[in-house]
Symmetry: C2
């Protein structure tokens, strides 16, 4: 990777007990039971991510960093639960959707389907043209982590125990992955932790 290349950074809201949804998430209820709690630090928006900009200055700073990324790489589940962001996550940047099999229906707007994490990351990096790549979704993150293609992890740690739901870190192959805490920012009712993936173990 050249030094001017942007970072691939996972952005996820997560409960202190490690869940990114509440229990019983499904097609009609992507965040599971009570999972909306995890996004309470964001504004009360619609399909357009820009409508979620938080009121708190620190939260808004972190949010704006995400909106300054040059490409989005997401798992298909997250993509579908978000209504595909109506084809435009922010500013018309390309959205790469990692899926096991390409659907017959083409994706909306600026989205495209990809089936391989490693080449998907390469495409997203190239498309971001020096800016960072925003990643979303547990399965996509795990695939990219295992492929050694995840540079950083930004967790929005919400002070709640959900007791059930979908875990961000689940099903990783055993083996330690060392991280380095780059930044800790306290927002309004949420703690933003940014880690660098140092590597190892796999």
């Amino acid at each position: 990777m050249s030094e001017v290349e942007g970072k691939v950074r996972l952005y996820m809201s997560i409960s202190l007990d490690g869940f990114i949804t509440g229990p019983d998430d499904g097609p009609s209820h992507g965040l599971g039971v009570g999972g909306e709690r995890l996004h309470a630090w964001l504004g009360d928006g619609g399909v357009d991510p820009a409508s979620y900009r938080p009121a708190d200055a620190t939260d808004a700073e972190v949010f704006d960093e995400g909106m300054a990324t040059g490409a989005v790489l997401t798992g298909r589940r997250t993509f579908e639960h978000a209504g595909g962001w109506a084809g435009d996550h922010h500013d018309g940047v390309p959205v790469f959707v990692l899926t096991r099999s390409i659907p017959d229906e083409p994706p909306p707007g600026h989205a495209r389907y990809i089936t391989d994490a490693e080449s998907g990351v390469a495409q997203a990096r190239a498309a971001a043209a020096g800016r960072d790549v925003m990643m979303h979704g547990a399965s996509a993150a795990q695939a990219c982590l295992v492929a050694g293609q995840l540079d950083e992890i930004e967790l929005h740690v919400v002070p709640v125990l959900l007791g059930g739901g979908r875990r961000l870190f689940d099903g990783l192959p055993p083996g330690q992955v060392e991280l380095e805490l780059l930044r800790s920012l306290q927002g309004s009712g949420v703690l933003h932790l940014r880690y660098r993936v140092v590597g190892g173990g796999r």
Copy 2:
């Protein structure tokens, strides 16, 4: 609870993916494969907890707070894996060991077995005589949390993904428990997060 009463506070080292041991923990290997990584922020001590005092000033501050508690409440697994701290966790304070069934062999030194989380907490609070109660162990913490007897959670978040092991938060009944971040202290390669249990959900 009167205002002069101390807090019951869980102290646990935990990986960013939520594990308090590595994989395959057992009687002969209480921390599991690679689980020692979670305690690397502590000094290289023996059975006596005081021998683990960290070199870093912030880490030492957090450690010293724990050593200033007036009683210890622990799960039996943690107790046995620590060799029962040879009967004296620190300063001869009483150690309450939560177990499903009382062993025939009496516990060493200042330790005593208890079978009920709620009355165990009451005994530990009384024994601490206004000082805080240090709690250890996932099962004990979950039992006390469900019983509404856990006041605070102090996590030493270690920047590593272990990919497997024993989770701190597992098997909690569904239902949200709200927390409040009271303090975030960055030590040497470990982040100390203190939360207050606000309650709800159960």
